[in-house]
Symmetry: C2
């Protein structure tokens, strides 16, 4: 029995190695550079090994996305936990979100831009994704204002942050003035 357990353990280690390597490579050189050949070479196994862990490249992206979503939820909670006052808490959330996107562009893409084969906004949505939304909801639900559903407010606010994050990173928006844009969003959207 112990032999089988050891093998499973080793397989799990290797699977984590694949995900970590894919993420690293994506952050270093972009997702285009994450080819199955290069990835296989970096983990020092042949290509087919990747397919014994994942159905294909898409699922690898999905695995990175789930890992990233967990981290993002933690980052948002950490940034908002110690802040007093709903207005400042929302501002802290917005900064933490945009900061995460700027510091982990490839991971952010995996979560929100690329096709990782994940279900979104459904009941079979993976837990990390639901939890990331929940982390936003916990903070943003407080400032939805009367007559506005917290979920709807959270979705809308989130969409605004997402727009800022993606347009900034894609060079569609000048990268300075991030802070005043955040201020504008928070001041106008959040009802304190």
């Amino acid at each position: 029995m112990s032999v089988q357990e050891r093998k499973e353990r080793e397989r799990a280690v290797r699977e984590r190695l694949i995900v970590a390597t894919a993420r690293e490579l994506a952050e270093q050189q972009g997702w285009d550079a994450v080819t199955t050949r290069r990835l296989a070479e970096r983990i020092e196994y042949s290509q087919p090994v990747l397919y014994s862990h994942f159905r294909g490249k898409r699922e690898i992206i999905g695995a990175v996305a789930l890992q990233g979503a967990t981290e993002m939820a933690a980052a948002v909670r950490a940034a908002t936990a110690a802040v007093d006052g709903p207005r400042e808490r929302v501002a802290a959330l917005a900064r933490a979100y945009l900061d995460f996107a700027a510091r982990n562009p490839a991971v952010y893409d995996a979560i929100f831009q690329l096709d990782g084969g994940l279900a979104y906004a459904q009941e079979d949505t993976p837990e990390p994704l639901k939890d990331a939304f929940a982390a936003l909801l916990e903070c943003l639900g407080e400032v939805a204002g009367d007559g506005v559903a917290p979920g709807l407010f959270t979705e809308t606010f989130w969409a605004c942050l997402h727009g800022l994050a993606t347009l900034t990173r894609a060079g569609r928006l000048p990268p300075e003035y991030i802070e005043p844009r955040v201020e504008l969003l928070v001041d106008r959207l959040a009802v304190v």
Copy 2:
């Protein structure tokens, strides 16, 4: 002289055919399906002909993006021109924007998601892109409110719309409730 002119005319026609075909194919089957081989086949020329018009696939995407930006600017202006009152004008703009994105997903991607090799938010930005932003600015600048620069306000509002458009289309947001989200955005962000 006339012969040369005719040839130039024919070249221009063919170039438009390439762009139109690429766009059509992208809207029908997604940008992934727009390969140089398929595109060449559809225009009934061989692949190298594409490269006598464009440096590569990226530039073809860029050409579709420019065409789309022009149309989008026109759509926004048309939707807002006949509307009275700044608040309703902004709401009309938002709906027109999201409607354009929903009706022309591939074109929207070409403009805002994909790499078409275009410069954004710089002085050498192509005119159609500048004009599309100007179309937004004309309407949104009115409702920036005191102490907020019209440009900054427009960028931020636009980012919100972009976030809604992309998240909705990527299945990250449930597609119903588009209207209440727009109402929320307009009511809170626009100062009338």
